[in-house]
């Protein structure tokens, strides 16, 4: 169904704010973090006004209420990605922490010197550095699926790498720079055939696509609330039950234990085994409200809308002399347009656009190796979500012409 943009934009109070230019905000930075609908803001506000208490183990009314809200949100999130059960959803701080959880718990228990982990050249730093750290500590080996000139993964090279029997293949479902939507199902199937397990960085995919972890057959799947209309400070790790059960705990502390003696402990069952200490309770409630919001609108409709906007944006940007776009064609990517403008540094592009109230990001977007691959230090990146319109694309294009004039 086609989105009603007028109604959707009303759900996001921030889109009404004035900018320093005196204009309305043109927010084209949802890949970094999305804006939040009123229903999410209200759910968190209601929680603090009405239900706030620490979760689990409390017997008073508020403790029970907050525990129920916290666990209800987990159920919603599980359903949203079609996990078998809510106990396979571990709350974390964000995608980065979810990946680190796998690196610290599963990988440190299972990988030894010489074991191979396959990553890709288009990874965010969050799916590179944890493995660099493990390499330094354990002497594991890292190989990378190359990125082709048109921004796709070289699956031929991937198959060759699989001959070396990797233990883990960890890759992004959707690139935060190129926008490339990788064939996750195929990558996972091939990894399994080679005897490897898989970890998917879903930070960009879960907010924008219908993700089904069971049909993908993903072993681990990591994502963040704040890129999908939810609050910052909370994310999730999905894992296959048998894997999660076999893993040692990650952080130690309260709530992750079944029993503690002075000199020992027994870990709790899933998912609590991986959730030490008081978690982000209000944020979990907000996360659940975000999932409700996206489900109500429908992920297929959101994806279709973003596709239409991206298609239009790429077409308009391509017309501008001096603009070079990165990544595949619109049919193979999500709502991201990373570009350079000849003779002008991306920081300057972003700064001048900001003067007109247009928010884009400039830099290497935490994917420095990818930028090195393309021989550029940085790009400007406009990204689109369910609330963005064609008019906003036009404002962006006009803004870029203004930049060209200043530097002309």
């Amino acid at each position: 169904m086609k989105l009603n943009l007028t109604e959707i934009r009303k759900d996001f109070p921030i889109l009404e704010r004035e900018t320093q230019a005196g204009t309305r905000l043109t927010y084209l930075d949802s890949t970094a973090t999305s804006q939040k609908p009123l229903s999410v803001i209200q759910a968190m506000d209601d929680f603090y006004r009405m239900s706030n208490a620490n979760i689990h183990r409390g017997v008073h009314t508020l403790a029970e209420e907050s525990t129920r809200l916290y666990e209800d949100a987990r159920e919603k999130i599980a359903k949203f990605i079609n996990a078998e059960s809510a106990r396979q959803i571990i709350y974390t701080r964000n995608t980065t922490e979810s990946i680190n959880l796998v690196a610290y718990s599963w990988a440190r228990a299972n990988l030894k010197a010489g074991d191979l982990v396959i990553l890709t050249e288009m990874e965010h730093h969050s799916n590179l550095v944890p493995w660099h750290m493990l390499q330094a500590e354990r002497g594991i080996e890292l190989e990378f699926i190359p990125v082709t000139e048109d921004g796709l993964l070289d699956l031929g090279m991937y198959k060759t790498l699989l001959d070396r029997r990797p233990r883990l293949v960890s890759f992004t479902h959707m690139s935060n720079v190129l926008g490339t939507i990788n064939p996750a199902g195929e990558i996972i199937r091939l990894a399994h055939e080679a005897g490897a397990i898989t970890l998917v960085d879903g930070a960009q995919s879960v907010p924008h696509l219908k993700v089904d972890v069971q049909s993908l057959d993903a072993d681990f799947y990591a994502f963040s609330a704040h890129k999908m209309c939810g609050p910052t400070g909370i994310g999730a790790l999905y894992g296959k039950a048998a894997l999660l059960e076999s893993m040692p705990p990650f952080l130690g502390g309260g709530d992750m234990i079944k029993e503690v003696k002075l000199r020992s402990f027994r870990p709790n069952t899933l998912p609590h085994k991986f959730e030490a200490g008081t978690p982000a309770i209000a944020e979990a409630v907000g996360f659940g409200a975000a999932v409700d919001y996206l489900s109500k609108i429908g992920m297929e409709s959101i994806a279709a809308h973003e596709h239409e906007i991206t298609d239009y944006a790429l077409e308009r940007l391509e017309e501008i002399p001096g603009v070079k776009l990165f990544g595949p064609s619109a049919d193979k990517k999500g709502g991201v347009a990373a570009f350079t403008l000849e003779g002008v540094h991306p920081h300057d592009v972003a700064q001048i656009l900001d003067k007109d109230g247009i928010a884009v990001r400039a830099g290497h977007h935490c994917a420095q190796p990818l930028h090195e691959k393309f021989g550029i230090p940085a790009t400007s990146r406009a990204s689109f979500y369910l609330y963005n319109t064609r008019d906003e694309v036009d404002l962006l294009v006009n803004g870029i012409y203004k930049v060209k004039e200043m530097f002309g």
């Binding site: 540094h345 920081h347 300057d348 400039a362 230090p377 940085a378 200043m406 530097f407």
Partner: protein
């Protein structure tokens, strides 16, 4: 349209007078701005009595970082190295003639950090060099 992109800054960005490398040199140092990947190398020639006789910068970055590097090279040429050591954030803002927010300040100060790390013979261009 706007103070940040005063003509002088665009001019120094587009036509830097001090871009290049010095070979031989007495001091050479390079570092990055980790936020945006901007890279600056600075080469100096210093006379026996401690005067900067020649200064060049090279690298890539935004208009603010490149213009401030060019202005900085211009301002230290002919000055005693002891004076160069005393330069700080305010010196750069004075050269640029603008006020900057925290993010763009990093761009503006990269060249001074690299310069001072080179002059002091340090391994890294850190923030406290320019405070």
């Amino acid at each position: 349209m706007d103070d940040l992109y005063r003509e002088v800054i665009i001019e120094h960005y587009k036509n830097p007078a001090y871009r290049g490398k010095l070979d031989p040199h007495d001091i050479s140092f390079a570092d990055n701005n980790p936020l945006c990947g901007d890279h600056i190398q600075i080469d100096l020639r210093v006379s026996a009595n401690g005067i900067v006789t020649d200064a060049r910068f090279d690298g890539h970055g935004c208009a603010i970082s490149q213009a401030s590097a060019d202005l900085l090279m211009e301002s230290i040429t002919g000055r005693p190295i002891e004076e160069v050591k005393k330069l700080n954030k305010e010196s750069i803002l004075e050269l640029l003639g603008i006020d900057l927010g925290p993010v763009r300040l990093k761009c503006a100060l990269l060249s001074l950090k690299v310069l001072k790390a080179g002059v002091y013979g340090l391994g890294e261009a850190s923030d406290d060099l320019v405070e």
